[in-house]
């Protein structure tokens, strides 16, 4: 089994707010991130796939294909967007780094054919990142 990781960057804005909470609760729980005008980050995405090396190509996965899938499924949807307002997953769900990692997993998992998705890592800043390994079986 081999693991292969491809990185990408995207920039987006978001804010944290749960309409089920009172204004005070939102402020207490989410602090500065509750500003409804949003704020932005340069996110770094790392997609790790695993699989056996194909004896003919020598590849676990065609990197060009992986890059295209990442662009089509993730970057086209999230890069230079206001996540809360423009990305369907986040119209009713808070775009925390945790939820972004889960959403990216769900977008990519169904598009990969030969290799299996192993991990989605999303850096919100160089000091903060989330790893998602899929739903526990």
């Amino acid at each position: 089994m081999l693991y292969l990781t491809r990185k990408a960057e995207f920039s987006a804005s978001h804010y944290y707010h749960n309409p089920a909470f009172s204004a005070e609760e939102n402020q207490r729980i989410f602090g500065k991130c509750n500003n409804p005008n949003g704020h932005g980050h340069n996110y770094t995405l790392e997609v790790t796939v695993k699989g056996e090396v194909d004896p003919r190509s020598g590849f676990v996965i065609d990197l060009k294909q992986l890059k295209e899938i990442m662009h089509r499924e993730v970057l086209d949807a999230m890069d230079h967007r206001f996540l809360n307002k423009e990305v369907p997953e986040f119209l009713h769900q808070i775009p925390t780094t945790e939820n972004i990692a889960i959403a990216i997993w769900q977008r990519l998992e169904k598009k990969l054919q030969k290799a299996q998705l192993h991990r989605i890592r999303v850096y919100e800043t160089p000091d903060l990142f989330v790893d998602f390994y899929g739903e526990e079986k």
Binding site: F30, E98, A101, D127, L128, F129, D131, F132, Y133
Partner: protein
């Protein structure tokens, strides 16, 4: 759904690697430059990884502000701008980054309850890093 969150922190401290159980020659051969009696310093980078279910109401595993406050209070206040050799935990033990990593793991494991501690990584320089994930766990994880 379960996710892992990692957060990185910086602190600076000095230390001297020296064991009272070794002769002068042995200390010198074991620790080399690090045995300099005046000590020397590093900018350490601490990376703490915690896991848990993502709360459906908040979208978060736990509140990051709580972790930041905890690490500030229990780890950074303790070690930042300190000479590690003067601290009680290093009265007997040598303040190697291995031992410091184990101590920080213990502090977080015992004191921070909102999520499960997966591992502590401590980078002494850009070239050296150490990780502890509890007894036996890291090896298992890396080989699986």
């Amino acid at each position: 759904m379960k996710a892992h969150l990692s957060r990185r922190y910086l602190f600076s401290a000095s230390h001297r690697l020296h064991s009272d159980k070794m002769s002068e020659a042995e200390n010198e051969s074991t620790y080399g430059k690090c045995n300099n009696p005046y000590g020397h310093g590093h900018n350490y980078t601490l990376q703490v990884t915690l896991s848990g279910q993502v709360n459906t109401q908040t979208g978060m595993i736990f509140n990051l502000v709580d972790l930041d406050n905890f690490i500030e209070r229990e780890v950074l206040n303790r070690y930042d701008k300190e000479n590690l050799n003067t601290l009680p935990e290093f009265e007997e033990a040598v303040p190697t980054t291995e031992n410091l990593c184990l101590h920080i793991y213990e502090i977080v494991q015992r004191g921070f309850s909102p999520a499960h501690l997966e591992r502590v990584r401590l980078e002494e320089t850009m070239m050296n890093s150490f990780e502890y994930a509890g007894v036996g766990k890291l090896h298992q994880e890396m080989s699986s």
